[in-house]
């Protein structure tokens, strides 16, 4: 039986920082349209794994395939085009303080050369998804942590990426808002987006029926369905 190519594939990937090994010989796949959780204690390599997917880091050993692009043969000039397949909810948000919410979200479309009229429609659509339409003219600093979190999600989905990566997306949220955010992810997943959520919040994945990849000290120790 021929399996379709996975959306993301790690093959014996090792990533070393100067002082320590962040990922050790990791092999795993995430299928197209799958929703997967990535968990493990703090410092176990979750963020590193996401960074390898959106190419903020490159593996020291092994190689990674992302939507058909392989890190072993990837040219530097192709990196932006790989990234355009991926929406990222950064752990540290990366919102630009000198631009309002509308401008922050529209950036993801501007870099793709999309025209102003379509940008407007899409940005408001994304803001509606996270229930923050009324904040379009606010500046990031004026929003609560939870609101900023949802803005980052809106920016990650506005360009309708094939892959969505979220790094501790509920880390700053109260349980109720966390629930909302998870629901948003599920809606996006339902439209066919492949999603990988790094979290140490058990509530998020217990009884979700989704696969959970568990890291410990950089090694993949379990990949059970919870």
């Amino acid at each position: 039986m021929e399996q379709p190519d996975p959306m993301i594939h790690f093959e014996n990937v090792t990533k070393e920082y100067e002082l320590q090994t962040a990922l050790r010989d990791v092999t795993c796949s995430i299928e197209k349209g799958e929703m997967v959780f990535l968990t493990g204690p703090s410092g176990s390599g979750k963020t590193t794994m996401l960074k390898l997917i959106y190419l903020a880091e490159l593996p020291d050993q092994g190689d990674i395939t992302i939507a058909g692009w392989n890190t072993g043969t990837l040219k530097e000039s192709s990196i932006p085009f790989v990234r355009r397949n991926i929406g990222v909810v950064f752990q540290d948000f990366r919102l630009l303080d000198n631009r309002n919410i509308y401008e922050n979200i529209s950036l993801a479309l501007r870099i793709r050369g999309i025209g102003e009229r379509e940008i407007k429609a899409r940005v408001y659509e994304a803001l509606k998804t996270v229930n923050l339409r009324h904040k379009a003219d606010s500046y990031p600093r004026r929003l609560s942590g939870g609101e900023q979190q949802r803005i980052v999600i809106a920016r990650a989905i506005v360009a309708e990426p094939t892959v969505l990566l979220a790094d501790e997306p509920t880390g700053n949220l109260d349980p109720e808002t966390a629930e909302d955010v998870l629901k948003t992810f599920k809606d996006i997943h339902a439209k066919g987006t492949t999603i990988l959520i790094a979290t140490h919040n058990r509530e998020l994945y217990m009884n979700s029926g989704k696969r959970v990849l568990r890291l410990e000290a950089g090694s993949l120790v379990s990949r059970e369905v919870c």
């Binding site: 959106y54 903020a56 000039s77 932006p80 085009f81 990234r83 355009r84 991926i86 990222v88 950064f90 990366r94 630009l96 000198n98 950036l107 993801a108 501007r110 870099i111 793709r112 050369g113 025209g115 102003e116 920016r155």
Partner: protein
């Protein structure tokens, strides 16, 4: 429209870091202005000396009491020389009349002079390209050997000095322009580099969202071009103001300045030169940055 967004980013940055931008604009302006002034000087010296051969002439004094036929012979011998453009015969009577009229107010100089002390002479004008002091000297020597010629007079010293000034001004101008242009490019280079580093965070976010190199660089190139072009326009304005208020006034009081030319068609290139230098500096800065 990605291009218009690049312009918007550039404008934002120009406004945000207005002091840095203004400072580098003024620096570039100063450079372009100095270049303009020295070009102006060089240009005028060049023009003035280019037309000089037509005004400049050799005076060939003839022996006394040469017959008409002899005089004709000398004239055609001189006229045959390659560097000569025209020969005019000035009879001694005519020369004397002229001398008298020149000294109208100091007639006493001529008092007691009953006889005309002046010889017949030829006024020899040179061709434009025969201006080098060497060839004039040679011509003078050759002319002096013609039978019937007693003396040849020409501004030997003057020609030498003129030649030296021309060469000196040319070299000084070129060296100065080269130094200043390098300086201008360097100012743009450092400005863009500073602006780039001040926005490292923002640029990193752009990259992570999938921006290409071109998308990130375009606003900086535009900014460099804008700074250079503005400086160019400012120096153009300054040159015109200087011309208008200083020069046109001077011309009225100092006749020497009447001959001064204002090469406005060249100065109109200033904004273009500024833009080019600005883009060049920005491009070097971005080329040396990693992204």
């Amino acid at each position: 429209m990605p291009t218009s967004y690049a312009f918007r980013l550039a404008m934002q940055s120009l406004k945000k870091d207005k002091w840095i931008n203004l400072l580098s604009m003024l620096t570039i302006f100063a450079g372009l202005f100095i270049i303009s002034i020295s070009f102006f000087v060089f240009y005028n010296i060049e023009i003035a000396t280019r037309n000089l051969p037509e005004k400049f002439s050799l005076v060939v004094y003839l022996d006394n009491n040469l017959g008409q036929e002899k005089i004709e012979q000398v004239i055609s011998a001189v006229r045959a020389k390659r560097a000569v453009s025209s020969v005019k015969f000035i009879a001694r009577e005519e020369a004397f009349r002229e001398l008298k009229s020149t000294l109208k107010n100091s007639q006493y100089v001529l008092e007691g002079l009953e006889d005309n002390p002046l010889p017949d002479s030829l006024e020899v004008k040179l061709k434009r390209d025969a201006m080098g002091s060497e060839s004039v000297k040679q011509l003078a020597e050759e002319t002096k050997r013609i039978k019937g010629v007693s003396e040849v007079d020409y501004g030997e010293k003057f020609l030498d000095i003129l030649q030296n000034i021309k060469a000196g001004v040319k070299i000084t101008g070129l060296v100065l322009a080269l130094i200043l242009c390098t300086g201008i490019v360097f100012v743009c280079y450092s400005t863009v580099k500073i602006l780039f580093y001040r926005r490292t965070d923002e640029i990193e976010t752009f990259k992570l969202l999938g921006a290409t190199k071109g998308f990130i660089r375009a606003p900086f190139i535009i900014e460099g071009a804008a700074i250079g072009t503005t400086a160019g326009f400012t120096s153009l304005a300054a040159v015109f103001v200087l011309h208008h208020f200083l020069f046109l006034k001077l011309i009225n009081s100092v006749p020497l300045f009447k001959t001064v030319l204002f090469p406005s068609h060249v100065f109109l290139l200033l904004p273009l030169i500024g833009m080019f230098l600005g883009i060049f500096g920005a491009a070097i800065a971005l080329g040396r940055l990693k992204y």
